[in-house]
């Protein structure tokens, strides 16, 4: 039986496998604060790379970053009726602004606030209040602002990266003069998320509107990107909301149009979060641990010097550092290649396994024999640990970019293949039940005709399945809803989900 880096394997215990990949990949861990995670340096470096790419995409489409308060007065949450229902349940509430030591030396809350404050679960209301002040005339529009921030939603069953009380995200909030422009913005941001997921994270996604029952509280339409995890469940990996004039009316965000008439703005909001790291893990990691698409790998190549004698040591280290320098001057996808020499004094096997578990795309071992032969011994993280490729040392810097590209496209292909082999186009109710019942895992995606109707959610509920989205890129294919008989134009994705 082959030895695996991670125990249990995906097949043995998927949820526990996930926790072990996170732990052994040194990505994050639970904190002493219930439901809040600590994102460790390796995990945070992945997030920084994601931020860098997304931030560039936001800015090149005209968005600017700003920062709004962490706290929201209770009365603000009350403004939009559906919004308050959706978010009221799970908030951290600040009620005091001072601590005092009591006679026993314990700290006790003092200074009760007149109006309690909520730690933002999302910022539509506080940002909307500012937009109401800032926007006067059509000349002030559009307002295109993004915020990178922490948010808090109290979670009863936290799970690192996927569902934590505090998480990091970006939230874009825009205001427009016309409905059309706001819808265009909503869809543009959805496209950016889909491009980023597939091109950079190598996570294939279906993008489209969600059924009304799954909408963001207060939105007119919620679009999402949906990815399939290796247990067959869907992960909603990003959302873009067309808010219509709902928030504008609740918060009085108005402008004077070109004809001097006062009108309500049309607004949008859109976000992705550190949940994407969970998606990355559950899309690519294997039974040896994390597998990183090179594009979001903090180190794309690790050089591992191997030596016994002092003499060998200096020659091997010299070679590694020279190679590092050459590699760092090469580019892949318009960025300098990220290389690390790991010359820590520890057992070679442990060191290699650490890099495997951290998902580093390329490991290069260099020892005295390689020096003598003028070769390097290369292992790709997307291939089995023992599989090695030997190439002339001199060729490697020239070929490194191609290797990274090959790994990036290979992990995407694997993910696409996995989704294909766990998806089924279904036209009968009974087959839907069978699809989700017969499997050991969560099943996968069923592509079916369903109407946007409460009856559908009700029918799917016993299967623990929901409508994820109705992909927009698919060709139109009229049909009858399996559960209501209503005519619909396209198939939707239904599945279990996180």
């Amino acid at each position: 039986m082959p030895k695996h880096g991670i125990s249990p394997t995906r097949k043995e215990d998927y949820p526990e496998w996930y926790q072990q990949v996170v732990r052994s990949g040194e990505l994050a861990e639970a904190s002493p604060v219930r439901g809040c995670m600590v994102i460790k340096p390796h995990g945070f470096a992945i997030w920084e790379l994601m931020q860098g790419i997304l931030d560039g995409m936001f800015k090149s489409t005209g968005h600017k970053n700003a920062y709004f308060p962490l706290f929201i007065p209770l009365s603000y949450l009350e403004q939009e009726a559906k919004h308050v229902e959706g978010f009221a349940k799970e908030c951290a509430v600040v009620t005091h602004h001072r601590l005092e030591l009591d006679a026993d030396g314990r700290l006790v809350p003092k200074g009760k606030l007149e109006e309690p404050l909520v730690v933002r679960p999302t910022s539509e209301t506080i940002i909307g209040a500012m937009y109401a002040k800032w926007i006067q005339s059509w000349r002030d529009l559009p307002v295109l602002i993004n915020q990178w921030a922490n948010v808090v939603r109290w979670e009863m069953r936290p799970r690192v990266f996927l569902r934590t009380a505090e998480f990091l995200w970006q939230e874009g909030h825009t205001a427009h003069a016309t409905e059309e422009e706001a819808i265009q913005e909503t869809l543009q941001m959805l496209d950016i998320y889909a491009t980023f997921a597939e091109r950079d994270l190598a996570i294939p996604v279906w993008k489209g509107p969600k059924p009304s029952s799954e909408r963001f509280p207060g939105a007119v339409e919620t679009y999402s990107i949906e990815a399939m995890m290796q247990d067959g469940k869907a992960l909603q990996a990003g959302t873009s909301h067309f808010l219509g004039q709902n928030f504008a009316k609740a918060q009085n965000i108005t402008f004077t149009d070109k004809t001097s008439k006062e009108a309500f703005c049309w607004t949008t909001s859109w976000g992705v979060s550190t949940r994407l790291i969970g998606g990355l893990i559950m899309t690519h990691a294997d039974d040896d641990g994390l597998v990183l698409p090179p594009r979001v790998a903090p180190e794309q190549i690790v050089l591992l010097p191997i030596y016994r004698s002092d003499e060998d040591q200096s020659a091997v280290l010299d070679c590694c550092h020279n190679l590092k320098e050459q590699l760092e001057q090469s580019q892949w996808r318009n960025e300098n290649i990220r290389v690390k020499v790991d010359d820590r004094d520890m057992r070679g096997g442990d060191k290699v396994w650490q890099h495997i578990k951290q998902g580093i795309p390329i490991r290069v071992e260099i020892g005295p024999r390689d020096l003598a032969a003028g070769t390097v011994c290369i292992s790709r993280r997307d291939e089995p640990p023992k599989q090695k490729l030997t190439m002339p040392l001199l060729d490697f810097p020239k070929k490194a970019a191609d290797l990274l590209e090959s790994i990036q496209s290979n992990v995407l292909k694997k993910a696409v293949d996995f989704r294909e082999s766990h998806s089924s186009t279904i036209d009968k109710k009974a087959e839907v039940s069978e699809f989700f019942d017969s499997k050991e895992d969560a099943g996968g995606f069923a592509y079916v005709h369903v109407a946007d109707d409460p009856a559908v959610a009700e029918a799917l509920d016993p299967l623990k399945v929901t409508v994820r989205c109705t992909p927009m890129d698919w060709p139109e294919e009229p049909g009858k809803c399996l559960y209501t008989g209503k005519s619909v134009h396209r198939r939707s994705v239904i599945s279990r989900s996180y």
Copy 2:
């Protein structure tokens, strides 16, 4: 009388001038949440530039970023005795984790927490708790981690950027095997802050240890950089703390050394915050508004097309966009020059004043006459608004980097000169009183001999003056403390402060 962009002027009403510079520069504004500011896109872009430079300096000295929870259990704050005294007073306390709608449709806090949580005012305790878990052996050391985060300290007299309930900062937290190494780290980070302040923000600073009465709660030694604002007051612009083994002992952060003995770690922490934006304003801004050192100017050059006819418009805009492209390909200080074409349809005078108030280093007006003559008309923000420099259009892209360098060094020189002319080396008690009493403004810096003794703080208190730091770069100059007669080796900086 000359017209000014900002009313009142510095001389008329310094605190109100500051508020008006912030407002008219579109940097930030008060939010509906007491004491919390909204950082607007222009202000936030300055912060992003600061972050980028500092983050690079941190990483190139071996630090990694991570992220720790926003919340700290009350019991953690109680662990270090001095720390709890220092921070207990001004915290936001989370006591509930749910909201429910009552019969009147109002939200009320529910779900009382067993142990209240504090919104982090700083993270020594929560990060220390993780370090205690992570650090086992000398092989795990040093731990060099930084966090970019929001923190909350309830402020009774908030002032935008300088003192707000919530602010953004970075906090570095490191753990070391030896005292010497931890002290070295503390001083290294102090140096990084001083370099950043002078080289990038063009803010001259004095750096050195603070008197014990001004130490961070729980620190063995606190070092700071101190800058002089244009009202003569000091701004503590960054701090670096040597924490000794105080936190390690309180939190049991231990390691096994090379001889297999268990020992406590030596720790440090260091931080700068969005307060630096306040420092930037109060160092460089003038009676026309913000003045940005080019290094942290989101746009370093703004191109202003001027035209009346449609024909002129297309020729002028073409010229602007060509020029932008050329400029963006030039570099200054290893970065592409940041250029914007402002072709908004608004009154030219208003437009120019907006850029003046936002502190854009170089404005370039381009109209049909310039096109015909093949020239551009350049205004530097560090010179009076009406002063203009004409140069051949073709020369400008080649000279832009020099111009930016010249502005950068000129604003630094102005700040150094200001500090010089508002500082005095004083050796008599009576002269100290006179120095701080006789001025219309806050006086400035007095360089004096004072001991690290409570008697000094007491003697200076009626003058509203404190000891800011004892600059380490100054030559030794033994003398007697003006207030205690004790022998000291160096002069210290005393002044009023923010």
